[in-house]
């Protein structure tokens, strides 16, 4: 019962913290650009507004198109529920290990691309193609990152990985240097962040994610925006779980869970600032530099695995 409770608590905190993280990143970007910014609560306001609006659906849309936002939201929520954020003792986490988690993201991506192709406009298909282009390079890159960690823990279960790194005696894992570097690149690409995509633009030459959801409006758009925030949150927590797991508790003692929550929020705040800094400092890549960017991530991941075996640790 208490396991269930901890699962529900983790899921709810993911659901609520995700827009906050997005707001925090946007706010930090605004500050770095010397603007005052909309405040970190802006994503909630946007979501509320969108949910209240009527949904306008293209008359060529098939049932697939209507059902996809719910599915993607479900996938992202499930992903956030599986990743150990506060405690490693999550009943749902058994359903999926690291590989299945990547599969879950891939499932969401495929459906998003299909939905974008469904209307049959030039923008949608362009976005779908670019999204799949990013996907087929980012997914294996993420997998190699996770493999580097699983080689250390000798397991692909996220729970075991976190326990191995955080609760044993302090050890330095050189392979994680590569994995972390690769992860940062994948993180930026997967969350449509600046060197790859620009979340703040609607220009056809630069956008990827926005092109995919161009035809959505009202509650469907709200769900997709929320799902995108959840994805950002999920990726951040994957990064935390793999590279900075200290603070995640093993059990579900309420006091320690609250402490873990405080740790989590601090880490996320730090991560948000770093993300904003990276975005501010880098320039958007041309679309045909993106495969190179991601191939670099992929190969760094491979080198990470190799280093693990080379150094025998």
């Amino acid at each position: 019962m208490s396991q269930l409770l901890s699962q529900v608590f983790a899921t709810l905190s993911a659901l609520l913290l995700a827009p906050l993280l997005l707001g925090w990143v946007d706010q930090s970007r605004a500050w770095l650009a010397n603007r005052s910014g909309p405040g970190i609560l802006q994503p909630y306001r946007t979501l509320h507004k969108l949910f209240n609006k009527e949904s306008v659906m293209a008359d060529t849309a098939s049932p697939l198109f209507r059902f996809v936002p719910y599915l993607i939201f479900g996938c992202m929520l499930l992903a956030s529920a599986i990743i150990p954020t506060l405690s490693t003792d999550l009943p749902l986490a058994r359903a999926a290990d690291a590989i299945a988690l990547v599969g879950l993201f891939a499932l969401a991506r495929v459906f998003l691309a299909l939905a974008a192709m469904d209307i049959g406009t030039a923008f949608g298909t362009l976005g779908a193609r670019r999204e799949m282009l990013i996907g087929f390079l980012a997914e294996p890159a993420l997998l190699t990152v996770l493999f580097s960690s699983s080689l250390i823990a000798n397991s692909t279960a996220l729970k075991t990985i976190v326990n191995k790194v955080s609760q044993n005696e302090f050890t330095i894992y050189p392979s994680l240097v590569f994995a972390a570097m690769a992860f940062v690149l994948v993180f930026l690409a997967e969350n449509a962040r600046v060197p790859v995509d620009n979340p703040a633009t609607h220009l056809e030459l630069t956008m990827i994610h926005e092109a995919l959801i161009l035809e959505y409006s009202g509650r469907h758009l709200a769900l997709l925006e929320w799902a995108a925030a959840l994805k950002l949150f999920a990726y951040s927590t994957i990064g935390i779980a793999l590279f900075l797991p200290w603070g995640i508790t093993g059990g579900m003692d309420p006091q320690r869970v609250i402490l873990a929550l405080v740790f989590l929020i601090l880490k996320l705040a730090l991560l948000g600032v770093i993300l904003a800094l990276v975005e501010t400092l880098s320039a958007k890549l041309r679309i045909f530099r993106v495969p190179e960017f991601l191939a670099t991530a992929f190969l760094l991941g491979v080198i990470g695995m190799l280093t693990h075996i080379l150094l025998g640790s």
Binding site: R94, L114, D118
Partner: protein
């Protein structure tokens, strides 16, 4: 009858299939009888085959029989063991769906007469079943050749088209070159004892050198059938040329016969396994898979796309088999069982989803008359059944959870992550690279499959006539539904499936996963331990469905469900039409750019002054130019030289015969002495 041994059942099924084939001849032109009675009957018999082989699998003993057919002294030895039963099970299940679909699919009047088609189809099924139960080289080769021949005639069902004849010829040629290699391999395996039964081959202790030669010959022979690099060229020609149910049968099932053959030789007939065999298989498999998936992503013909995707899957199967062989050669049997399980799981998964996908292309072809992706689109509106069933196949094929392709890929990746235990440090270092390429291949498969589904079924119809497309008929729907259900079972109940794979791995490598796999409940797949890795498709599905339902109701309760239909927004552009969507070429463009060195490309870019501008890009296989054309030229040259012997005068021909006779007599030992 019901108590008969499984082998008897299998023999009956083969007999009935052959019988239906002959009945097809009798009712040569009576289309109604052939379509409405014979094909469904064949399907029902397929159920019996699946049932009998499932029973044989779980009963756990091998059964043998001898059939007094063939030459005197040279009877058919038959044996039904776990490995054959597993493949028979796959054959049975797939044949049910494909037969039912065929009953509704074949139309009167096109090409070959319906009765003849019925005969070839059922002979094809029967010969595949016979391949699986053959227990001597003689029976095996007879079945293998009749499989090749019957499928050749099926491929050339539309023999009026020269392109299809050429494809059929290429197929026949490579199939026969492969068959010779298989035969030679058996010749080595019997080790000069003159006894060609498999039972005898198992007893022989041949030296590592000859074992390697036998392995390489078997790899060549079976690889030719499976479409391994560089013997794959026939596959993208022949599979699309055949009628769709036949493509389904060839891609889904016949290719697996080659996998069966190689498994039989490597793990059963040969008494040793050498580590470099595994490395070779792994490298060949990965190369083939990468090649196949990259080419699949740039195809513009939907059946060719699927054919290349089959090449990719064969590559994955070979890679898994190679890994199993590698573990086996080091005596790490539990891991060998894991890799072998991944291989066998993928055999099942691919058989069902690829058959399903080929069948859906058949329905699309019938409804629209188009195979070219550039002229399709938007079919989900006109043929919803086909579209949604195809979606299941597409998701399974992309390796997405909770569908069937994911389970096998997951198992395969798990077995890769175990490799750091290998005693050779060099191999240990190559494995991460291999695991990473598996991940890349899986992701690329998703790309190709999104292209397939998105371009065919989504968007706006690219031609006007598409809006007249009709959905599949009743029997076609049933056939596809059956295969889609099989896909779902494989995706959602891995532990149930493991019960059928476990006996096979138990007999081949002595270990199995059924026990450890479901140790934590039937819903949770744990290949070794809960700590190490677990995956539960049921949790997955339930989790996603519950959250979807919950969100849906919550949004309705707190907000509203208002919706308005309108023209697409499309960034505010007012004028747009179906031609502004991405074409199949456009969708493949990033792949063409990134993997440019893989292709031989011919581009035609329109010039500004052209009145009818046309953009064309033809992507061809480098292997044609690199390997096949030189061989063809060399053959042509040699035959031209031989042609000089041909003088046209009878006395010279008689002289040739005379000389031949003299030389032969000279060589016969009794005469020369």
């Amino acid at each position: 009858m019901l108590n008969g041994s499984p082998l008897n059942w299998v023999l009956w099924v083969i007999a009935v299939w052959i019988g239906i084939g002959f009945l097809g001849i009798v009712a040569l032109r009576r289309f109604g009888v052939v379509a409405k009675v014979f094909f469904p009957l064949g399907g029902v018999v397929g159920v019996a085959l699946a049932w009998a082989s499932a029973r044989a699998l779980t009963s756990g003993t091998a059964e043998t029989a001898t059939l007094p057919i063939g030459l005197p002294q040279l009877q058919f030895h038959l044996r039904l063991d776990q490995l054959s039963s597993f493949f028979l099970l796959i054959l049975g299940i797939a044949s049910v769906g494909i037969s039912l679909f065929s009953a509704g699919y074949f139309r009167n009047g096109a090409g070959t007469a319906p009765g003849l088609l019925c005969m070839e189809f059922h002979f094809f099924l029967a010969s595949m079943a016979l391949v699986l139960i053959a227990d001597d080289a003689y029976a095996f080769m007879v079945a293998w050749e009749s499989m090749a021949l019957s499928s050749y005639f099926l491929v050339t069902a539309n023999h009026k088209m020269p392109k299809i004849r050429a494809a059929g010829f290429l197929y026949l040629l490579i199939a026969h070159v492969g068959a010779i290699a298989v035969l030679l391999s058996f010749g080595i395996l019997q080790a000069n004892t003159g006894d060609y039964t498999f039972a005898n081959m198992r007893l022989q202790q041949i030296s590592p050198f000859w074992a390697s030669v036998a392995f390489l010959l078997a790899l060549f022979g079976f690889g030719a059938k499976a479409g391994i690099l560089p013997l794959h060229v026939w596959l993208p020609e022949a599979h699309p040329a055949a009628p769709s149910p036949v493509s389904a049968l060839m891609s889904g099932v016949m290719i697996k016969m080659a996998i069966y053959g190689l498994l039989r030789v490597c793990f059963d007939l040969l008494h040793i396994q050498i580590w470099w065999w595994g490395v070779l298989l792994l490298a060949l498999g990965l190369g083939t898979a990468l090649f196949g998936v990259i080419f699949a992503a740039v195809q513009t013909d939907m059946k060719r796309l699927l054919a290349y995707s089959s090449i990719e899957n064969v590559g994955l199967l070979f890679a898994a088999m190679g890994l199993a062989l590698l573990f086996r050669s080091y005596g790490m049997n539990t891991l060998a069982a894991l890799a072998l399980t991944a291989c066998l799981y993928h055999v099942g998964a691919h058989a069902f989803f690829k058959s399903l996908l080929f069948l859906t292309t058949g329905s699309v072809l019938h409804a629209t008359g188009e195979r070219n992706l550039g002229k399709l689109g938007g079919l989900i509106r006109f043929m919803p059944w086909v579209a949604w069933l195809a979606l299941i196949g597409v998701l399974a094929s992309s390796g997405l959870p909770p569908f069937s392709g994911f389970v096998s890929e997951w198992l395969l990746l798990q077995s890769f992550l175990f490799t750091p235990g290998l005693p050779q440090s060099f191999l240990n270092m190559l494995i991460p690279v291999a695991a990473a390429s598996i991940a890349l291949i899986a992701a690329l498969a998703g790309y190709a499959m999104v292209k397939f589904f998105g371009v065919v079924f989504l968007g706006q119809p690219r031609e006007d006539k598409l809006s007249q497309a009709h959905d599949a008929g009743f029997l076609e729907k049933i056939g596809m539904l059956w295969l889609a259900l099989s896909c779902l079972v494989l995706g959602l109940a891995p532990n149930f499936v493991l019960h059928f794979i476990d006996p096979v791995t138990q007999t081949l490598v002595g270990k199995g996963l059924a026990h450890s796999g479901s140790a934590n409940g039937w819903w949770l797949l744990t290949p070794t331990s809960l700590e190490r890795a677990s995956y539960s498709p049921v949790y997955f599905l339930v989790g996603v469905v519950i959250t979807c339902a919950l969100i849906f109701t919550v949004v309705r309760i707190f907000y509203h469900g208002r919706m308005r239909r309108s023209v697409p927004w499309s960034g505010g552009h007012t004028w747009q039409n179906a031609r502004m969507q991405d074409t199949a070429e456009g969708y493949g463009q990033p792949i063409r750019q990134i993997f440019e060195s893989f292709f031989d490309m011919e581009r035609h870019l329109p010039k500004p002054e052209e009145s009818e501008p046309e953009y064309k890009v033809v992507v061809t296989d480098k292997f044609w130019k690199g390997i096949y054309l030189p061989i063809a030229r060399a053959t042509e040259f040699v035959s031209a030289q031989v042609g000089r012997l041909q003088q046209g005068r009878i006395s010279i021909y008689l002289l040739y015969s005379f000389l031949t006779l003299l030389i032969t007599l000279l060589l016969v030992p009794g005469v020369s002495r």
